[in-house]
C-alpha cells in the first residue's frame, strides 16, 4: 500500500510544480496529499458500508428462507399429516363400499321378496328401507373425512406458497386451529381412535371413569 501512496504524492508534487513553479514546498505537497487521501478514505468507507449492507441483506434473506423451510415442518407433514390423510381416504373407500353393499343387499332382498303375503312383504320392505336410510349416513361421515384431507392439502399448499410468493397469511391457519381446540372439533376418528356407543353410554351414566 505504501508504494501507491508515494506514487500519488509524486504525481501531486509534479503537478503543483508545473502550476505553481518552484515555490511549492514538500509540506505543501504532503498536506495536499493528506487532504486527497482523506477524501478517498471517505469514498472507501462508503463503498465498504454499501458492500456491508448488501451482504447483510443477503444474510437476512438466507435466514428468512431457512425459517420458512423450517416452518414447512417437513417431518410433521411426512410422518403425521400425509399418512393420516391417506388413512382417512382408505376409511372413505371402505365406508362407501360397505354402504353400497348394504344398500344393494336390501334392494336384492326387496326384489326377491314374496309379495303373495302383502302384510309380511310390507313389513320386510319397511325394515329394509330403514336399513337403507341408516346406510346412507356414510355421506355425512365421509364428508367430514374429506374435509380433514382437504385441510391437510391446504396446509401443504399454504406452506409451499409462502416459499414461492410469500403471499400466504398464517393468521387464518392459527385462527382455525384455535377454533378447533376451543370447540373440541376432532371429526370422525379412524378405527380405535374414538369411543364406541357402549363406552359413551357408560361414561354418561358414570359407570366408567374417563381415561
Amino acid at each position: 500500500m505504501a508504494a501507491p501512496i508515494q506514487q500519488h504524492q509524486d504525481r501531486i508534487a509534479a503537478h503543483l510544480r508545473r502550476k505553481l513553479g518552484d515555490d511549492v514546498s514538500l509540506a505543501d505537497v504532503v498536506a495536499l496529499a493528506e487532504i486527497t487521501a482523506q477524501s478517498l478514505q471517505g469514498v472507501f468507507e462508503s463503498m465498504d458500508a454499501a458492500v456491508h449492507r448488501e451482504l447483510q441483506g443477503i444474510a437476512d434473506y438466507i435466514k428468512a428462507m431457512k425459517a420458512e423451510i423450517g416452518g414447512l415442518h417437513f417431518n410433521e407433514l411426512k410422518r403425521t399429516r400425509i399418512p393420516a390423510a391417506g388413512q382417512e381416504l382408505d376409511a372413505i373407500v371402505k365406508a362407501t363400499e360397505t354402504a353400497s353393499n348394504t344398500i344393494m343387499e336390501c334392494a336384492e332382498a326387496v326384489l326377491a321378496g314374496d309379495a303373495d303375503d302383502p302384510a309380511a312383504f310390507k313389513a320386510m320392505v319397511d325394515e329394509k328401507m330403514l336399513v337403507i336410510f341408516e346406510a346412507c349416513s356414510f355421506q355425512d361421515i365421509t364428508g367430514q373425512r374429506i374435509a380433514k384431507v382437504v385441510d391437510t392439502l391446504k396446509h401443504i399448499e399454504a406452506r409451499v406458497s409462502r416459499l414461492t410468493d410469500g403471499g400466504f397469511v398464517a393468521h387464518d391457519e392459527r385462527a382455525g386451529a384455535e377454533r378447533k381446540r376451543k370447540l373440541i372439533l376432532h371429526g370422525p376418528q379412524l378405527a380405535g381412535g374414538g369411543m364406541g356407543q357402549s363406552e359413551i353410554d357408560s361414561l354418561l351414566s358414570g359407570t366408567t371413569a374417563a381415561k
Partner: protein
C-alpha cells in the same frame, strides 16, 4: 313414561342427507312434527320462536356448533329444560365429558341405527 309422539322435534345438522335420515327414522318411530336447522344459530332462532319437546343436534357445524348450541340452550332460562341429544361423529372422551358437563341428555355416535336412536330417546324421557 310414554313419549308424546306429537311433540315437535328439532333436528340440527349441516348435512341435509343426515337431516333426511333422522327425519325418516323419527317418522318410522311415529313422530310427525319435525323441523330442521343447518347450524346452531339457526336452531337457536327456531327454538326462540317455537317450543320443541326434543332437540337432536350434530356437533361440528358452522357458524355455531352443536356444543355451543347446547350451552346457549342450557344458559337460557326459557329453553334450559329442553331435552337435548347430541348425534355426532365426535367420539373422543373429552367431547363426551364436555357435552355431559354442558348438560346433554344423551349422546349418540355416528354412524347409528334406528334402534339406537329409539333407545336413546326413550332413555331421555324415562329420566
Amino acid at each position: 313414561m310414554a313419549i308424546d309422539l306429537s311433540m315437535p322435534i328439532l333436528v340440527v345438522d349441516d348435512y341435509n342427507t343426515m337431516i333426511r335420515i333422522i327425519r325418516n327414522l323419527l317418522k318410522q318411530l311415529g313422530f310427525e312434527d319435525i323441523d330442521d336447522a343447518t347450524d346452531g344459530s339457526a336452531a337457536l332462532g327456531k327454538m326462540r320462536g317455537k317450543r320443541y319437546g326434543l332437540v337432536i343436534s350434530d356437533w361440528n357445524m358452522e357458524p355455531m356448533t352443536g356444543y355451543e348450541l347446547l350451552k346457549e340452550v342450557r344458559g337460557d332460562p326459557g329453553l334450559a329444560k329442553t331435552p337435548f341429544i347430541m348425534v355426532t361423529a365426535e367420539s373422543k372422551t373429552e367431547n363426551v365429558i364436555a357435552a355431559k358437563k354442558a348438560g346433554v341428555n344423551n349422546y349418540i355416535v355416528k354412524p347409528f341405527n334406528a334402534q339406537t336412536l329409539k333407545t336413546k330417546i326413550e332413555a331421555v324421557f324415562a329420566e
